[in-house]
């Protein structure tokens, strides 16, 4: 019998979980602290416990993350079986039963499900893309705040500085099936159509609001998770949760856009 040592598999399992993103927050569940534990046996049985900031987090997102985690782990070589369990949620029983039976979204939620969750995913990929546009253009626009729409209209990806914000934008574009070539235009809508010059200021202003909204939700969820599970280290990854910022967070350090590996 071939035995895969648990160390490398553990690393691979963690990397697989790194690819699972909270669609609403646009960050990996591992960074968010949503992976409570990861246990492996010598014969390739994997058990993961997930936890969320509240019992009342949206059940559709909870299901998506749990089923994505199961899919990502099942695809690994050397894995014989995968059990993903969502802890302490109002739909824990329902979701855990559905996951164990590989019942799918409709099989899990029955009459509450009509089709699938692809439109939900798409909605949030679009939000992630527009927020990433704000981050990628932010520095450029702060340096030259009165750049006319006409000039931005001709901006191509190759004009953006190489850095985490640009790379994050490229990933969000790829997830939507938008071009990532240096000659591709930066300012396109979620279907890839160019935003006309006179629509650019409004588009960028809205992009800023989307970014404020998503980043605010991230901080709220991180804070609530820490309040809910104050004594638990992030067992699975050995990383600790971000510290909850206190009243003194007025130093201009706060919502520094966090770049992640999704």
């Amino acid at each position: 019998m071939t035995v895969t040592t648990s160390e490398p598999l553990r690393q691979r399992a963690l990397r697989a979980l790194d690819t699972v993103v909270d669609p609403e927050l646009d960050e990996p569940i591992t960074d968010l602290g949503f992976v409570r534990s990861l246990d492996l046996t010598g014969d390739g049985r994997v058990t993961v416990h997930l936890r969320l900031p509240t019992s009342f987090c949206s059940p559709n997102f909870a299901y998506l993350m749990a089923s994505d985690a199961k899919d990502a782990l099942t695809a690994l070589d050397g894995v014989a079986s995968v059990e993903v369990l969502l802890d302490d949620h109002h739909d824990s029983d329902l979701i855990n039963r559905g996951l164990a039976a590989d019942a799918g979204y409709r099989g899990t939620f029955g009459h509450e499900a009509e089709q699938d969750l692809e439109e939900l995913r798409l909605t949030f990929r679009r939000k992630a893309h527009i927020a990433a546009t704000d981050r990628a253009l932010g520095r450029l626009l702060r340096a030259a705040p009165n750049t006319p729409g006409q000039e931005l209209y001709g901006l191509v990806l190759g004009d953006l500085p190489d850095g985490p914000a640009t790379r994050a934008l490229l990933r969000r574009r790829a997830a939507l099936g938008l071009g990532t070539d240096p000659a591709d235009f930066v300012l396109v809508d979620e279907d890839g159509a160019r935003v006309p010059p006179d629509g650019i200021p409004a588009r960028l202003r809205f992009a800023h609001s989307v970014r404020v909204s998503i980043e605010g939700n991230v901080h709220f969820c991180r804070g609530l998770l820490r309040t809910r599970y104050p004594d638990e280290a992030d067992a699975a990854s050995g990383r600790t949760l971000l510290p909850l910022l206190t009243a003194d967070a007025s130093a201009p350090s706060s919502p520094a856009p966090k770049e992640n590996a999704s």
Binding site: E24, F56, E114, R205, H208, S209, E215, F220
Partner: protein, 332 residues
């Protein structure tokens, strides 16, 4: 009333509750999960000096409420916005009789709004007529993620929902407070989506739609519809305590709201008993948008006066003492 630096602020707390989440009123595990979630909000967003023991958080009663709001909290008038949560609590979460009795005893200080659920269809509509008369309703609070039987939510533009809104117009109920939650049928889409608010706000222009916690976690979607629908307002419940934990994020929220809406359509609320109004009022009066966040203009005293009370007072016809009124009328 709150006075600071020679200015007088009339305070309307536009979203408060008198709830009972004690174990004997919990119908099932969800009753406990719900209040525990609230308690985490309370501890996470409020300053440590304002944290309550869990036991006190479960139930306050009328006397404590009056003290926290009116004796200690600078509040001049407050509006009950009850959630029924009949699937989680035996006698409901919001305590109708107790809150209404308190409002009758202190009509100058308290307004009682009630709730409805369009899934009760005709019987609920008949009930609404009786409730409107008994409570003299000016407003209602709708929690769209309320569970009922095997349904876990509804939309404001469902056919029965529209009939309720049309009946509200007929009965003179003008103010519709909306609280979005995580469940709705089908689960395929985003439950926090405010597209249904957009739809009814443009169809029923006689009504005011106050979206509680200003659409969070979908601030951007809320701003987008509010900018197009002049009868859509922002309630600051849940958003305003971010002044403590995340002051820069709160600056962004208020900056975005003032950019997309205007200063006449934002209302203060403590969301009592999630938080108490005293520290929120004091800190909001002192609050400044950090200087380096120059994408947002500074908050003015007039804007703070409107947000803390004048806007909700206008919506609920609450008289404002002359010393608190703005010398210039609200029109921007």
């Amino acid at each position: 009333m709150y006075r600071k630096d020679g200015e007088s602020y009339f305070i309307v707390d536009a979203h408060i509750a008198l709830w009972d989440a004690r174990p004997e009123n919990q119908l099932n595990i969800h009753g406990k999960q719900f209040i525990d979630c609230f308690y985490d909000y309370h501890r996470n967003l409020g300053p440590e000096s304002e944290h309550w023991p869990y036991e006190e958080f479960l139930y306050q009663g009328g006397e404590r409420l009056m003290k926290d709001l009116f004796t200690d909290g600078h509040v001049d008038h407050a509006v009950f916005q009850p959630a029924r949560l009949g699937a989680f609590y035996r006698n409901g979460f919001g305590q109708t009789e107790e809150a209404f009795a308190l409002a009758q005893k202190h009509p100058d200080k308290l307004t009682y709004n009630h709730c409805w659920d369009p899934r009760f269809e005709q019987s609920g509509l008949d009930r609404l007529r009786r409730d409107a008369e008994r409570f003299r309703l000016k407003g209602v609070k709708l929690y769209t993620a309320e569970w009922k039987g095997d349904s876990r939510g509804y939309k404001l533009d469902d056919p029965w929902s529209r009939r309720y809104l049309e009946t509200a117009i007929e009965l003179g109920i003008k103010n519709i407070h909306i609280h979005k939650g995580p469940t709705i049928r089908p689960l395929d889409r985003d439950a926090f989506d405010v597209a249904d608010v957009d739809s009814v706000a443009s169809d029923y222009t006689e009504l005011n739609f106050v979206v509680e916690h200003c659409g969070l976690p979908r601030l951007e979607d809320f701003c987008w519809i509010a900018t197009q629908e002049p009868n859509v307002h922002a309630g600051l419940a849940v958003a305003i305590p971010f002044m403590h934990t995340r002051p820069r994020y709160f600056a962004q929220i208020i900056g975005e709201l003032l950019y997309w809406l205007d200063e006449d359509r934002i209302q203060f609320s403590s969301d009592y008993a999630l938080w108490t109004p005293r520290w929120l009022v004091e800190r909001f009066v002192d609050f400044r948008i950090p200087e380096d966040m120059d994408e947002y203009p500074p908050l003015t005293v007039a804007q703070k006066k409107k947000i803390l009370g004048l806007n909700a007072a206008a919506m609920y016809d609450i008289p404002v003492p002359a010393e608190c009124a703005l010398t210039e009328p609200a029109a921007v």
